[in-house]
Symmetry: C2
Subunit: 353 residues, 2 copies
């Protein structure tokens, strides 16, 4: 209920995800991997919020009584202006609170929210708690590039961090990358203003030593490549970039901004001459394919890594496609038991070498 | 002598800048704005370094004895591996030291170096000194965008900063923008992970109050728009972005990396189908014009703002065009007496309101 245009895109996106996960087999029944399985293979969504408004949106997309879609009533809404810490105590019947409790009780296996991300963090911390050994949860996400996606951790949960936290972001990011991007031994770098060890801040220099020590373990599960620069991100030379949430958030948004502006520009420039117009018309399908390949909305959302449950933070302005992809991401992360993988990585990195 | 491929691009670029500044009038004499002026209107360059190697490079570009080009011998070279502080004491006859002394003595009005940027900073500090009231010099540069350039300060001189320094970067950046981009009242923003005042780090929140106070003066010379996000940079909604040198350097390199990767991609994607190839061939001139409009090498270099003299830091990998543009930038900044403008801005911001 807390997204910028909620609950329209949330309901439509969730229904689309359920439908894509359960294609009709031609006889109206859901396809199953194993006909005898008690657990359905498809994806089920619980929409949490004002029942009347949610039912109205379901009716609008022709999904009243849709199989796999249920509604859980909640009376309050966490807004973007609510203080993350205070709202947890003040709005005990918010859709965010009720949804997080569903995950805690085991009735749901993942939470997706396009609302106040600070409040998502506080609710996840207070209701689900941290994984053992995790100092501070961080937001991990995949960046689409032409060379395939890379992982960045943290992209916004923690702005003022200690070296030990930053080193854990590297470990969490590597575990995310192994499961989500299926790289057995991802190359991990620490984002810095230069490649030489003398570069960086007091924070990165201290974290550098900690990450190098964690990577030196035979069972580390990642290779540490040292400092990486902003220009390295799109070169395909690093799989995981660890950084504080302030820098990571800025980098994420700069990438979105530059990519968006350049596409607009290419199209505008092509429109300026007859020759360019003809060229642009002929080139349009290739440009559209490319845009989709690097579109950040295609990713859908980011993982709140380090809490005891699958929590997906989607952009407040998420449209139907973005919500659909966020729900599919949540489904995939829950099936992979991503929190268990993250907890294992943190435990490994904490053992004496 | 300290650039990655020195002194080839440095000599060729400097000669090109001199030639462009002094077009032949058809009779072999330099054109002058005023025939009676004792000061030539053109640009003169002193190449500082190993005389034999510099003369050889001059011969290679057909510029031995070229008018406006002289050589000043220096026996030592500051390398990229030299420690900025130590090398100042150890290599007293380096090309960087001799060139900086030329500016100090008034024999030259600006310094351009593609060498070790930390050493350029230490030499500028020790030989030229800081402008009155400046806490720490910072690197300011223009970012080319389709909406025109914006200014970023700092892009790499200071990685661990105090709020008062960051507030000065805003003042220095605004003064740079007024002179270089000719905006009378630039809009200044503080780079952050969100637009709301509660966002940012301890550093940005403290700096926010200081910049707001400086902007509230009637003679401030800039408008403070508050926090700006990474996605705002390319939207044309802010003219000057103040940030610490760690974040600024990463943002600069991310922009370069994304823009470069996308252009390669557009061209590769267009090459994949017959239709795309034809479209690409027709669209090529428009794409080339666009590339030039946002090419970072076109900028040439960045200003070391806050030292008592014009000092331009060029990229270590600068080619002939980049060096030429850096020298032209130095010429332009010296004629505009940019350090005087910066000192005035700092003095104004320090006065009680």
């Amino acid at each position: 209920m807390g997204g910028d245009a909620a609950p329209g895109p949330e309901v439509a996106g969730a229904v689309a995800a359920v439908r894509e996960a359960a294609p009709d087999d031609g006889f109206g029944a859901r396809r199953r991997a194993d006909a005898h399985a008690r657990q359905p293979v498809g994806l089920e969504v619980v929409l949490v919020g004002d029942r009347v408004r949610l039912e109205a949106e379901l009716a609008r997309v022709g999904a009243r009584g849709e199989r796999g879609v249920t509604v859980e009533h909640a009376t309050e809404i966490v807004t973007m202006d609510d203080h993350p810490g205070e709202v947890f105590r003040k709005k005990r019947h918010s859709s965010l609170r009720v949804a997080t409790e569903l995950v805690k009780s085991g009735r749901a296996q993942a939470l997706v929210s396009a609302g106040n991300s600070g409040a998502v963090l506080s609710h996840a911390l207070f209701v689900l708690g941290r994984l053992a050994g995790v100092e501070r949860p961080a937001i991990a996400t995949g960046f689409p590039t032409p060379h395939g996606p890379f992982t960045v951790c943290d992209v916004g949960a923690n702005v003022d961090v200690r070296p030990s936290m930053l080193a854990q972001f590297a470990v969490l990011g590597a575990a995310y990358d192994r499961v989500v991007h299926r790289r057995a031994l991802p190359r991990v770098g620490l984002l810095s203003n230069g490649a030489e060890p003398g570069k960086g801040t007091e924070l990165t220099r201290a974290a550098h030593a900690l990450v190098a020590a964690a990577a030196a373990r035979p069972d580390a599960g990642f290779v540490y490549v040292g400092y990486v620069e902003g220009s390295d991100l799109w070169r395909g030379t690093v799989d995981v970039v660890a950084t504080d949430g302030f820098t990571g958030n800025i980098v994420l948004k700069v990438c979105e901004g530059v990519a968006g502006a350049l596409f607009g520009l290419v199209q505008a420039e092509l429109g300026e001459s007859r020759r360019g117009q003809l060229g642009g018309a002929l080139a349009a399908p290739a440009l559209r394919a490319l845009k989709k390949r690097i579109d950040f909305a295609e990713t859908g959302g980011a993982l709140l890594a380090g809490v005891d449950g699958v929590v997906i933070i989607a952009h407040g302005a998420s449209d139907t496609t973005a919500v659909k992809n966020a729900v599919k991401l949540a489904d995939r992360f829950a099936r992979a038991a991503l929190p268990v993988q993250l907890a294992r990585a943190i435990a490994t990195s904490a053992q004496p070498a």
